[in-house]
Amino acid sequence: MCDCNCHEHYTEDTLIPKIGIITEITQQTPDVKTFRVNAPEGGKLFEHLPGQCAMVSVPGVGEAMFSITSSPTNKEYQEFSIKKCGVLTDYLHTMEVGEELTVRGPYGNNFPVETELKGKNLLFIAGGIGLAPLRSVINYVIDNRANYGTVDILYGSRSMDDLVYLKEIKEVWAKEEGINVHLTIDREQEGWDGHVGFVPSFLKELGFENNKTALVCGPPIMIKFVLAALIEMGFSKEQVYTTLELRMKCGVGKCGRCNIGSKYVCKDGPVFRCDEIDELPAEY
């Protein structure tokens, strides 16, 4: 070790990231990959709660907020499922196992798995890559099965090739006792004998009782119609949780981008109960 004192004024600021190493990459769909990330010396970079996010960056390319898709009950690593849709995500998709990136976080609030959701029957409703944040909760619930009631997972995507975590859904979730999985795709496709149709209409067809708490995540248009369907089915807004997604830079409620009303989605969100969203200006 050197004896210099030049480092003593260095900061442990929340904007300074940690270095993470990619330890596994899974191609989920043609444009979604799941990246497993560890600390370079092994183990997890930090502890998080289901629904929380982190800023992932490739220096010189960009930095963006992604939900952490692995469950906190996983003690070995964190995972991010990332859709290829911009400068940074395009670059991430070219990366290989063994390469390093930077991660800071965790940021934001979480789904209330240890409070409001405890003991409840849960209805997960996801569209497309929207299953990524919910997967963290689903696996948390599976690992703490006794704390929750029945579980229904309604998941849809554009096509069967766009369904993420299909292997895990079929081999793990669908085989768990008390968990029902309902899959759908938008249009008929050869090789698909499951349900065809949009998530909100499938939801109405399934006609769940309103003795559940719903966790909804997906494209804004899907969320809008799912919420309307749930209300029609007798759910109250207090029974529905969703996540908001706005542009973020700092992750700590200071840079101003994700400000909506008096809330900062990065800090006060991303998880909101639907009655809380009603109090926000309609700008999301």
Partner: protein
């Protein structure tokens, strides 16, 4: 109360600059802004308003956060060193001092921004009372007394004398360091000047701007008002208002590839810009009306909701002077007032 003759101020500045960086209003190419003191600097304490507020002493327009280097597959991160030397901001006006209080609410709330905090810890504010506030000023609307600024040291420039009154521990320490140059004074001249200035304040058109109707549970009512659609029309989305504003704190984080590593820096940004909220799946504020509304709703409704009613405006009037389309917060407040009155 202490004093120093105006002719001795260069000696005072030099004395301070011996051990600390000294920022004060300096004229460069006919624009006065806070800059680092040098012996040949054209110091202008008489300037009422610097073009930009002195917020960059604590929240620089651009600052490197850390540098990343990559060798083969390994990334290393070298954080930027924090401010570790004392510095003095001399001649800051009451409104701008309050502006820093507003920034404190943002950067010193959890999680604390350590870059900002290090500067606040090492910065000493020497405020200068206003003698001749102008038409564009409306600090009084935000409860600021421009004749009696609250900082580490308060000063008054009356005729050929600078009066000096330390108010905090930091201010006393600075006073001790320059005490050879200061002598005792009574405050009669200061009081006289304060009364004169207050008489000016009372005559200024915006000073008694009423913020009635902006506090309390007014979010939906204000947000949904059809007035925004009229008010925003002349806005050019240039962002000048946000850059001269002492309380605007929105920032961007970007990378600069030096050729020998990547510097990640943050820089001021503006909610007036169309790409501010743009992301891969769209833009939640895609009209200039929405962006215009956001700026004023944030200053007058959202920020106060999170900060015990403190507005994120200090009435410095820079936006009043600099907006190329003559838009400003006064116009917004008055438009809503008028609407309320007509009901």
């Amino acid at each position: 109360m202490l004093k120093i003759a105006k002719t001795d101020l260069p000696a005072l500045f030099q004395k301070i600059a011996e051990t600390k960086d000294l920022y004060l209003p300096i004229r460069v190419a006919d624009q006065v802004n806070f800059g680092v003191y040098t012996q040949d600097a054209d110091v202008s304490l008489e300037t009422l308003k610097t073009v930009k507020s002195p917020k960059d002493a604590f929240f620089p327009q651009s600052e490197t956060l850390y540098t990343c280097n990559k060798t083969e597959n390994k990334i290393s991160i070298t954080p930027e060193e924090l401010q570790n030397k004392e510095f003095v901001v001399f001649g800051i006006k009451g409104c701008d001092v309050k502006g820093i209080e507003v920034l404190d609410k943002v950067f010193l709330s959890e999680p604390v921004d350590t870059f900002y905090k290090a500067r606040r810890d090492h910065g000493i504010l020497v405020a200068l009372a206003c003698n001749e506030p102008e038409e564009s000023c409306f600090c009084k609307a935000f409860g600021i007394d421009c004749t009696d600024p609250k900082a580490d040291v308060a000063t008054w420039l009356v005729e050929d004398v600078l009066y000096w009154n330390p108010l905090t521990e930091k201010g006393s320490a600075l006073t001790d360091a320059v005490k050879d140059l200061l002598s005792d004074a009574d405050d009669s001249k200061v009081k006289e000047q304060q009364e004169k200035t207050k008489a000016i304040v009372e005559k200024l058109p915006y000073m008694n701007l009423s913020l009635e109707g902006w506090n309390g549970d007014v979010l939906t009512e204000k947000f949904d008002s059809p007035l925004w659609e009229e008010l925003y029309q002349p806005c050019l989305a240039c962002g000048t208002c946000t850059f001269v504003c002492p309380t605007c704190q929105c920032y961007d984080i970007k990378d600069y590839n030096t050729g020998n590593g990547v510097q990640r820096y943050r820089c001021w940004d503006s909610c007036m810009y169309s790409d501010f909220t743009m992301m891969a799946h769209g833009n939640n504020r895609n009209s200039q009306m929405q962006r215009f509304r956001q700026r004023f709703m944030h200053k007058l409704v959202y920020f106060p909701a999170n900060n015990n009613g403190m507005y994120s405006c200090v009435g410095c009037g820079r936006c009043v002077e600099k907006c190329p389309a003559s838009l400003n917060i006064v116009k917004v407040v008055k438009a809503f007032q008028k609407e309320g009155g007509d009901k």
